[in-house]
């Protein structure tokens, strides 16, 4: 059991003394590395290799109560959704109430035109309306005022400030008209109660729609959370019992039946089955699992029953780490938003100053009724300006983009990586394991005699070799179910090959130098071996009893989809360069088959990083695709490192982009997604900037000379309310993103 973290809810703890007592009791328990009580939340967090019942007993022995906290992220998510729904309903209710007052008032003004205060009857009537408006403002928009006040006290100004000042100014002016109409010229004795009510109503409506739209932006994480069942079937001496997922301990034995999801990470103890891991690796073909194999939480057991030991639970599982990574990336910043962030920080006070300046201009130089115009301009400027649109422009797009990536097996580390992936010009690809399978296979065996007989002899000999290519020959014999023989006098001759006696026959396998050394003339086989080498294969000569027996070739096969993926990446405008430690001939052959023009062969691991550095010095924006382990320095050096390693832990920790699929298509998906996301961000930023830069001057009255009208504060409120919704809705359009399929490529 590793140092896992468990959380408990406490009962009976109420002071610092209780905290000390509980922590001391826990720290005295074997296996507890750390115990921390959070008195504010009444929780206890225990780190260490200890079971939860042991922790609970220790707490109880100290005189308090404890139970495992419901840390199920799905429950939390559901709870959050419930709260969002409640919030939506509350906002709609507030909106409805405010509009129920605002709309009739507005219609009254439009139909009768009587919104002025000239008589004592009108004073009384509009005074009552003013008080009703105040009640509606307090009930439906009170949070704007309290928020604005608290922010003000902290030297902050936010959207609440604009709404509170705008609606407050309109209401105060109207009440001033009601109480002191004679202070103003007749033409200026207009009340604006409908504006205050309508603005509060429309902004609540806008926020309600925004809450609903935002709920859709996190759909990807919800899909990931749904990959786990809420319970696991734990096997103990007393039988099998379904327990909540959060109660599964490391070391528990868990049974999964056909059709069930694997609840936690573990290792198979008994049984055979195939497991669909496509949700985590993108590999569509189910993987066979038997004793000793590893299982990942969230994958689907297909056709057999498995008994396995839990190795990682809770936040330690690979799925949980992926979810955490996605959530972190979703709320990270993108460099392109730096300007918007800077503007956001000074936006509200700046708008307030603009509103005052505009109001003073109308007051000093505007046409009559100046007081009314001054108020309309002041209110409209404050209300139309929307920091929300600016602030939401990038986070919403990043959230949807990163989530969409996760759906397609593309895990983006942060917003910066997402942005940089969109403008790469060159993609450097490691050959082995990325363009090729990464596991050599026997591709050719040619002999004048019996193929199986020769393969049996060679595989028997190679079984004793540690050369990486030897395994391919042994595997080929096993695949054919050939029986291997004992070997005598085995000898590995460095840089030549191997020799030994199999069934009393002297067998040699190696390169041309080995044959020369043993004085064996390869004859026509040499030309055949050279042909095979020209195809990118490693050809070897085989001799039996000092006679040439044939040639065999081993190669790391090119991935089935590598050619399509390379074509797709070229289609995206990227120059592809191949890196490999293999010899030039093999590398050239692979590159030729894949349509890659630029090849760097015979490289040491450190050379890869140097090559990327040289490309960057030429001003090229370089992406690097590798397996995430051997290529770590090069991946780190590249502008964007794509780790193609089916999401190994190392890759997830270090890469800018981790591809769950072991396919170069993932890189194309990531680049297409990043470009789509950046396009969406730019649209949002452009929209938000344009909205504010056009909206504020229009509200300030620049069109008055042309139209003879000022923008109504109600229209300004509607524009503000729906600007945020527009931004969120545009970000949600990214949910429709689909990577172009390989079939669409026209090389």
């Amino acid at each position: 059991m590793s140092g896992q973290q468990q959380t408990f809810t406490l009962s009976g703890a109420s002071c610092a003394g209780c905290v000390r007592k509980i922590e001391s009791a826990l720290k005295a328990v074997d296996g507890v590395d750390d115990a921390r009580v959070n008195l504010a939340e009444r929780t206890l967090t225990v780190t260490g290799s200890v079971s939860s019942p042991t922790c609970i007993s220790a707490v109880e022995s100290a005189g308090y109560g404890a139970k495992r906290a419901a840390a199920d992220p799905r429950k939390q998510r559901e709870l959050q959704r419930d709260k969002d729904r409640q919030h939506f309903r509350k906002l709609m209710w507030r909106s409805g109430l405010a509009l129920a007052l605002g709309i009739p008032l507005m219609l009254w003004g439009l139909i009768t035109g009587e919104m002025s205060v000239n008589t004592s009857t009108q004073q009384l009537a509009w005074g009552c309306v003013g008080l009703i408006t105040l009640a509606v403002m307090a009930f439906c928009g009170g949070h704007f005022f309290t928020g604005a006040w608290k922010a003000f006290r902290h030297h902050n100004a936010n959207m609440d400030t604009l709404i509170a000042v705008g609606t407050g100014a309109a209401w105060l002016f109207s009440m001033a008209v009601v109480f002191f109409p004679h202070w103003l010229p007749e033409s200026a004795r207009h009340v604006y109660f409908e504006a205050s009510a309508m603005i509060i109503g429309l902004i609540n409506l806008g926020q309600a729609l925004e809450v609903r739209a935002r709920g859709r932006t996190s759909a990807a994480v919800e899909k990931l959370l749904e990959l786990q069942d809420p319970t696991a079937r734990v096997v103990s001496e007393s039988g099998e019992v379904d327990v909540p997922l959060e109660e599964v301990q490391v070391g528990d034995q868990v049974r999964v039946r056909p059709g069930e999801k694997i609840p936690v990470d573990g290792q198979v103890l008994e049984g055979r089955s195939s497991v669909d891991e496509s949700m985590l690796t993108g590999e569509p073909v189910p993987v066979k699992k038997a004793a000793g194999d590893n299982l990942s939480a969230g994958t689907l057991n297909k056709n057999g029953t498995l008994l396995f030991e839990a190795k990682k639970v809770g936040a330690e599982t690979r799925l949980a780490q992926i979810i955490e990574m996605v959530q972190n990336a979703q709320s990270s910043r993108v460099p392109i938003a730096r300007l918007a962030d800077t503007i956001s920080a000074i936006f509200v006070p700046t708008v307030m100053i603009i509103a005052i300046i505009a109001a003073l201009v109308w007051f000093n130089w505007g046409p009559d009724p100046r007081a009314a115009h001054t108020l309309v301009v002041l209110t409209s400027v404050l209300i139309i300006a929307c920091p929300c649109a600016l602030g939401l422009a990038t986070p919403m797009s990043v959230m949807v983009g990163v989530g969409k990536g996760a759906e397609h097996g593309v895990l983006v580390r942060n917003g910066k990586a997402l942005q940089q992936a969109s403008n790469l010009t060159t993609l450097v690809v490691d050959k082995t394991g990325t363009l090729t399978e990464g596991a050599p296979k026997l591709t050719d065996i040619e002999t004048d005699g019996d193929v199986d007989e020769l393969l049996t002899l060679l595989a028997s000999l190679e079984r004793h070799s540690e050369h990486p290519l030897a395994e391919a020959i042994v595997d080929a014999a096993r695949d054919k179910e050939l029986s291997l023989h004992e070997v005598e006098d085995f000898e590995a001759i460095t840089a030549h090959g191997v020799r030994g006696k199999v069934d009393g026959r002297l067998v040699l396998l190696g390169n041309r130098k080995l044959m020369s050394r043993e004085a064996i003339e390869p004859g026509d086989w040499q030309a055949r071996a050279e042909d095979l080498a020209a195809m990118g294969r490693t050809a070897m000569y085989a001799a039996v009893d000092n006679q040439m027996a044939g040639v065999i070739a081993v190669a790391d096969p090119i991935r089935k989809d590598a050619k399509d993926a390379v074509a797709r990446l070229k289609n995206l405008g990227l120059k592809i360069e191949m890196l490999t430690g293999d010899n030039q001939a093999t590398a050239d052959a692979v590159a030729k088959q894949l349509g890659i023009e630029s090849v760097h062969a015979d490289l040491q691991p450190e050379d890869k990083e140097k090559i990327i550095g040289e490309l960057q010095q030429k001003g090229i924006r370089v992406g690097m695709a590798g397996d995430g382990i051997n290529d770590a320095p090069a991946l780190a050096r590249a502008d964007v490192g794509f780790a193609i390693g089916a999401g190994t832990d190392v890759a997830i920790e270090t890469a800018d982009v981790t591809l769950m699929r072991s396919s170069l298509h993932g890189v194309a998906d990531a680049i297409e997604l990043s470009r789509a996301t950046l396009r969406n961000i730019k649209q949002n930023l452009f929209g938000a900037f344009i909205y504010n830069t056009l909206g504020i001057p229009v509200a300030a009255g620049v069109l008055y000379p042309l139209t003879g009208m000022l923008l109504s504060p109600v229209i300004a409120g509607a524009a503000m309310a729906f600007s945020s919704v527009t931004v969120v809705s545009n970000a949600n359009r990214l949910r429709l993103f689909k990577p172009s399929s390989a079939q669409e490529v026209r090389p």
């Binding site: 709260k83 608290k150 030297h155 979703q330 990270s332 929300c388 602030g391 986070p395």
Partner: protein, 120 residues
């Protein structure tokens, strides 16, 4: 007379805005970090919004979001590339790595909520 008064009031308001929001600086007291400290996310502000934390040591901050506004949904430590979703009416712990001695701003996604960590 009224005209002069309104203009003077307007200019005073502009001066007040510039001074209060940009020049006056924050006067809120610097809270010392304790493990039981909970930062409230409410009414448009973090409270406390200036927290002194020990440098060179991993710390955990607890945020309690009571503001249903979507604006408050995330807390972002942009200098540390850390962000965390804050479920409503729930205490969320944010683990921070060892910090160097300097100030680290934390904000909501829209930079409306703002706070400062002072690592010393």
């Amino acid at each position: 007379m009224m005209s002069v008064l309104i203009n003077v009031l307007g200019l005073l308001l502009i001066t007040g805005i510039v001074w209060w929001f940009w020049l006056a600086g924050r006067k809120s007291p610097l809270q010392h970090y304790q493990e039981s400290l909970v930062i409230q996310v409410k009414d448009g502000v973090y409270e406390p919004d200036r927290i002194e934390v020990p440098a060179g040591r991993e710390i955990t901050l607890s945020f309690q979001r009571e503001d249903a506004s979507p604006c408050a949904e995330y807390v972002v430590f942009s200098d540390l590339e850390i962000s965390k979703q804050l479920p409503l009416n729930h205490i969320t712990e944010v683990q921070l790595p060892k910090l160097e001695k300097r100030e680290y701003p934390f904000t909501c996604q829209m930079k409306m909520y703002r706070g400062i960590l002072v690592a010393s």
